[in-house]
Symmetry: C2
Subunit: 346 residues, 2 copies
């Protein structure tokens, strides 16, 4: 139930308040598990064209909100619109994922100017405006981008999955890697700032490939660029809270939570809530971390797991979410049940 | 230099002693990065036949020891010999990895008896005997097996990579999962005990798919079965030290190190040494954790990274190793340089 007197629950929690029940949204809540999304998706062949269509992307965002009483909408887009807008060739292979014409770190200077990239991304900001105009006041609107390292791995590898090329580049061409990450920091900051100007209330940074990096490399390619990105956003006048989600960072989320300047921490499935609570700065809002598989499984296992998450995060300002994106084989019925359980409390 | 008066350096460290320089071995040190291995591998078509040939497997084990002054040999085998011996169909697709005729948890009872599996695995124990007979006294011989959960993921998925089927089974068919894991505990315990009887000095448990599990599931499928396995080994009279390697477990290595009963902790690439040191029981030997990519890269980056590892683990009894297996594109020259650097100290 939207309360028109106070800010959206999600923003109150991001501001450090603990709410019972916690607000809930679901990573990839607009997506293939919804039959109406699969229907809508047929309207364009190219996934990027879909992302760049304000009408289609806005409709995708609104679909889950019609079904479930979620506390937030999240922009429908892709983390790879940034390399696309910088001039790298990006396409999506049905059922497999993204492909990019791989970039060599030493040719990163060929990438376009941030300002031009932002011009090319204007349909994204138009989407944000359209969503904002349609949202009820109690529902927060989340903008997002891929964090620099994660986007760089796709740019260097040419696809998801294996990150060996990108990881080797850290050792082999550290200056060029730094330059590529710096270019991504600037473009991503401008991209996120434009989303906030268009109406996004808060932001999420997806560091989806935080795993497998030794501490020195993690500092260099995850912590430093993220800290620069957060600072640059503040310089650009963006006051919106930022949720950082370093998926797979393991014990290194301690450094991430304390050294990047993000306002809230996205906790992945395998990280115990207590660990996140212990290592994060005092009072930092925590988001997470139900196993997405439970939304495929459903039934009592789902309810028990959802309650376990509620209990595990009971000491922190908490945003209920999954520990990773919802999978296409999850069912809308299970999502409905989850939201009921969370809204009902423990 | 083998010292014939005292036990091998690796065993001294596993016994809690800190040595400078630390002993070193390399996960997958017998493998495709060695041209002589690639040549040897051509002698049989099937990878399992190669594993089951005492002469070929022994030769593979000895190859890296002729090139590098390593402190340990490790049995050449595969974690999937256990399902193979239990009667599940297992084969390997060149360049892709293992394939298994997927098992349904509810039909796990069809698996063979542990005792029969051990009989089928007698060539493995003959391999251990042959290696032992050839090893210089200062070189420790490591036996190994996959931990029950990791082996179960392959058995249920039919391949590596995606573990969704196995993860869903934890929620959907918990009793059947427990039964499958219990069967693996018993067979694996007997398999490891037979390796020790044949001459293995110590053991490593590969929990290669420890990542992505929420805490409750991690307890159920990783901690409990590993603890049972360690206890069962002790019941079987095995006193050899056990190195547990829960790759990707992130913050949950704290529970793993304290609750399973393993004697030493294998630390993966991304886990800071200080974190492992802080969460492990006092004095627990730690093994790891150089980024395998540095053995592809070589040069100064390799030397710096190796020294960083030496320094990071300086407070603990330390076994130098990688944080994950060496990759086929590493070079023998880089391995030689690494061993030199480690033996030379910081």
């Amino acid at each position: 139930m939207a309360d028109r007197e106070s800010p959206p629950a999600l923003l109150r929690v991001l501001n450090g308040e603990r709410l019972d029940p916690p607000p809930i949204w679901i990573m990839r809540q607009a997506g293939r598990y919804l039959p109406e999304y699969r229907e809508l998706r047929k309207r364009t062949k190219s996934f990027l064209d879909f992302c760049y269509s304000p009408s289609l992307a806005t409709e995708a965002v609104m679909q889950p909100l019609r079904r479930f009483p979620l506390d937030a909408a999240i922009l429908f887009s892709d983390i790879l619109v940034v390399p696309d807008a910088l001039g790298q060739k990006v396409w999506f292979v049905e059922g497999e994922g993204p492909r990019l014409e791989p970039l060599l770190p030493e040719t990163a200077w060929k990438l376009g100017e941030p300002e031009k990239a932002i011009q090319r991304l204007s349909p994204v900001y138009e989407t944000v405006e359209r969503i904002k105009a349609q949202l009820e006041p109690g529902i927060a609107l989340i903008g997002f981008a891929g964090a620099p390292w994660t986007v760089a791995t796709y740019m260097l590898q040419g696809r998801g999955g294996d990150k060996d090329e990108a990881r080797r580049a850290i050792y082999q061409r550290p200056q060029e890697m730094d330059a590529l990450l710096a270019a991504l920091v600037e473009t991503t900051a401008q991209h996120l700032a434009a989303q906030v100007r268009a109406g996004a209330d808060c932001l999420q940074l997806f560091e989806s490939w935080a795993e497998g990096l030794p501490p020195q490399a993690f500092q260099r390619v995850v912590i430093h660029p993220t800290r620069k990105l957060v600072r640059r956003l503040r310089e650009l006048g963006v006051g919106a809270p930022i949720i950082g989600f370093p998926r797979g960072a393991g014990a290194q989320i301690a450094a991430y939570a304390n050294e990047t300047g993000v306002n809230a921490l996205g906790v992945d499935t395998q990280t115990p809530a207590q660990f996140a609570y212990d290592v994060a700065p005092e009072g930092m809002p925590l988001q997470g971390n139900l196993d997405p598989q439970t939304l495929v499984v459903g039934g009592e296992a789902l309810e028990r797991a959802a309650r376990d998450v509620l209990i595990a995060f009971k000491s922190a300002p908490h945003i209920f979410n999954l520990g990773h994106g919802i999978t296409p084989d999850a069912t809308p019925e299970n999502v409905a049940r989850l939201v009921q359980v969370v809204k009902g409390g423990v």
